[in-house]
C-alpha cells in the first residue's frame, strides 16, 4: 500500500509540471503568475502570425527532416554492417555512434564547433544539420540493429536462391522486415533533433531554431505569452513521434535504451528489451 502511494506521488511529480506548462498556454494575461485569471486562446493567433516563430519553426523542421534523412541512411548502413559481417573494430561501432549523446552536450557541441571553424564553414542550415545528424544516427542504428538481430539471414539466402538479385532481395525481403524499425528510428531521430538545444547553440551561429528562440525569450523575459503557446506545441510535436515509434517497435522495444540514453556506451547492444 505504501508503495502504491509512493508510485502515485511520483506520477504526480512527473506530470504536474507538464500539465501546468500546458495550462499556461491558455493564460489570458501577459503576467505569468498563479492562479491564472482565466483560460483563453487569445495568444494563439498572434503566435501563429509571429514571423520570428514561423521562421524558427521552419528552420527546425527543415533541419530535423534533413538530419533524420541522413541519420536513416547512415544508421541503417552501420546496422547492416554490424549485423551481417565480422570485422576489426566491430565491437567499437556502437560505442562510437553513441558518443555524441554519451558525452556531455557541451563537449559534443564544442567539437562540432571546432570542426566548423577548422573548415571555415559559415553557420547555416547545413552546419545545424551536420550537428543533428551526428547525434541522431545512433537512434536509427539501435532500432534497425535490434530488428535485424530478430530476423533470420536464411530469408535473404532463400531469396537469392530463388533468383532475386541483391537489389530485389533488399527491396522485397529485407526492407519490409526492417521498415517499421526504420520508421520508428527516424521518428525518434526527428523528435531528438526537434528539441535539441545544447549542441545546436554551438552549430547554429546567429540562426534561431525553435528551442533556441524559446531559450532566448525565456532568458530575457520577452513575449512570454507566445513562448507559452509555442511550448504547448513543442510538447505535442515531440510526444507524438515517440508514441508512434513505441507502437511500431513493440517487439524490440528499443525506445528506452536507444536514443536519449547518454553514457549508454555499452547499452545499445545489450539494453534492448528488459522492461515490458
Amino acid at each position: 500500500m505504501a508503495f502504491a502511494v509512493w508510485a502515485a506521488l511520483i506520477m504526480l511529480f512527473l506530470f504536474f509540471p507538464i500539465v501546468i506548462i500546458m495550462l499556461y498556454a491558455f493564460n489570458p494575461s501577459n503576467v505569468q503568475s498563479w492562479p491564472l485569471p482565466g483560460l483563453s486562446t487569445r495568444w494563439f493567433s498572434s503566435t501563429w502570425h509571429n514571423t520570428e516563430v514561423r521562421q524558427a519553426l521552419w528552420l527546425s523542421l527543415r533541419a530535423g527532416l534533413l538530419a533524420t534523412g541522413i541519420a536513416m541512411l547512415l544508421g541503417t548502413m552501420a546496422a547492416f554492417a554490424v549485423d551481417r559481417f565480422r570485422f576489426f573494430g566491430r565491437e567499437a561501432v556502437s560505442l562510437v555512434l553513441v558518443l555524441p549523446i554519451a558525452l556531455p552536450g557541451i563537449i559534443t557541441g564544442m567539437a562540432l564547433n571546432s570542426f566548423i571553424n577548422f573548415n571555415s564553414l559559415t553557420f547555416s542550415l547545413i552546419t545545424i544539420v551536420i550537428g543533428h545528424a551526428t547525434f541522431c544516427i545512433v537512434t536509427v542504428y539501435n532500432n534497425v540493429l535490434a530488428r535485424l538481430r530478430r530476423t533470420q539471414s536464411s530469408l535473404v539466402e532463400a531469396s537469392m536462391d530463388l533468383g532475386a538479385d541483391g537489389w530485389q532481395t533488399f527491396r522485397y525481403v529485407t526492407l519490409p522486415m526492417i521498415a517499421t524499425a526504420l520508421v520508428a528510428g527516424g521518428l525518434l531521430a526527428f523528435a531528438l533533433s526537434f528539441d535539441e538545444i545544447v549542441v545546436t547553440t554551438f552549430t547554429a551561429g546567429a540562426q534561431n531554431t525553435l528551442p533556441i528562440w524559446i531559450f532566448a525569450h525565456i532568458r530575457n523575459g520577452q513575449q512570454l505569452p507566445q513562448v507559452n503557446v509555442v511550448v504547448l506545441f513543442v510538447i505535442l510535436l515531440s510526444v507524438i513521434p515517440v508514441a508512434l515509434a513505441q507502437r511500431l517497435t513493440r517487439d524490440t522495444g528499443v525506445l528506452r535504451s536507444g536514443a536519449r540514453a547518454p553514457a549508454a556506451g555499452a547499452a545499445p547492444a545489450v539494453g534492448t528489451g528488459a522492461v515490458p
Partner: protein
C-alpha cells in the same frame, strides 16, 4: 541498369563480403571520422594551446597554462566542486525517489498498470527538456504555484526561484526517468523465489530489501547513476534558467568561453574536467557490473 548487369553486380558483391562490408561502413565511418572524432581530437589538443591576449588568435604552441589557471584560480575550483556536488546530490535524490517506485512498478502493479506506468515514465523522458525546465521556473517563481500553495495553507512564502535549491529540484526532476528505467529492469530480473526464501527464513520487509534485493539491484542503480551524474555535469541550460547568482556550472563557463570570450583552448581545458570524471566513473561502474544492467 538492365537485369543481366544487375545480376552480375549482385553476384560480384555476394562473392566479396569484405567489399559489401566496406561499402556499408564507408558512409558512417567517413562521417564520424571526418566530422566528429577528428574534431573531438582537435578540441582536446587545443586545451594545450593558448590564446594570444593581444590578437585573440590561437597560438599553436604547447602549454599547460590553461590547466594551471584552473587549479590556481579559486573561482574555477568552486565552480567545479559545485557542479560535482549538485550532480552527486541529484543522483542520491533520484535513487531515493526511483527505487520504491520501480519496486512497485516491477513487482506489485498488475500487468496492465505496468504498461501504463512504463509509457507514463517515457512521456516525460521524451518531452522537451527545455520546456520542462521552463515549467519549473514558473512553478518556483515568486508568484508561482509553489508560493500560492504555501500561502493558502498558511505557510507564508519561500524564495527559492533562482538558487541552487531550484537547480537541485529541477535536475532531480528532469533526470528521474533515467534512474527509474534501469532500476525497474534490475528489479524485474530478481527471481520471486529469492524474496520468498528470504521471507521464509524470517526476514521482515526491510531486512529482505537490504540483504537480498538491494545487492541484486545495485548494478541497476549504478547504471542509472551514470545518466543522472553525467547529464548534470555537462549541463548549462538549467543553471542559466533556474540558477541564481552563485549557481555557475562548468558548462556555463565553457559556453561563455566559446561563445563570448572566444577562448576555445581554455573552454576545452575546463571541459576535460567532466570528461575525466566520467571516464573514472565509467571504469568504476563497469567493475560494479553496471554495464550489464543498462
Amino acid at each position: 541498369m538492365n537485369a543481366a548487369a544487375r545480376t552480375r553486380v549482385s553476384a560480384a558483391l555476394f562473392r566479396r563480403p569484405w567489399l559489401r562490408a566496406g561499402l556499408l561502413l564507408s558512409g558512417p565511418a567517413a562521417w564520424f571520422v571526418l566530422v566528429y572524432l577528428g574534431a573531438l581530437f582537435l578540441l582536446f589538443l587545443s586545451a594545450l594551446w593558448s590564446v594570444d591576449s593581444f590578437s585573440g588568435k590561437i597560438v599553436h604552441s604547447w602549454t599547460f597554462s590553461n590547466f594551471e589557471t584552473l587549479f590556481n584560480v579559486s573561482a574555477y575550483r568552486t565552480i567545479a566542486l559545485r557542479t560535482i556536488g549538485i550532480a552527486a546530490a541529484v543522483t542520491v535524490t533520484d535513487i531515493v525517489l526511483a527505487v520504491p517506485f520501480a519496486f512497485f512498478a516491477a513487482r506489485i502493479a498488475p500487468k496492465r498498470l505496468q504498461t501504463v506506468l512504463f509509457v507514463a515514465v517515457l512521456i516525460p523522458l521524451w518531452s522537451s527538456y527545455l520546456v520542462r525546465v521552463f515549467a519549473w521556473r514558473l512553478i518556483l517563481s515568486k508568484d508561482g504555484i509553489l508560493n500560492w500553495f504555501l500561502g493558502n495553507v498558511g505557510l507564508g512564502s519561500i524564495n527559492i526561484g533562482y538558487s541552487n535549491w531550484a537547480m537541485w529540484i529541477v535536475f532531480s526532476y528532469i533526470w528521474l526517468p533515467f534512474m527509474i528505467l534501469p532500476v525497474w529492469a534490475a528489479i524485474e530480473r530478481v527471481p520471486d523465489s529469492l524474496i520468498e526464501a528470504s521471507a521464509d527464513l524470517g526476514a521482515r520487509g526491510w531486512r529482505s530489501f537490504r540483504s537480498v534485493l538491494l545487492p541484486l539491484i545495485f548494478p541497476g542503480i549504478v547504471a542509472g547513476s551514470i545518466f543522472t551524474f553525467s547529464l548534470t555535469l555537462g549541463d548549462f541550460i538549467t543553471p542559466t534558467l533556474v540558477g541564481g547568482a552563485g549557481s555557475t556550472f562548468i558548462g556555463n563557463v565553457v559556453y561563455q568561453e566559446v561563445g563570448i570570450s572566444n577562448n576555445v583552448p581554455f573552454a576545452a581545458a575546463f571541459a576535460t574536467v567532466p570528461l575525466v570524471i566520467m571516464g573514472i566513473y565509467l571504469l568504476v561502474a563497469r567493475r560494479l557490473g553496471a554495464f550489464e544492467a543498462l
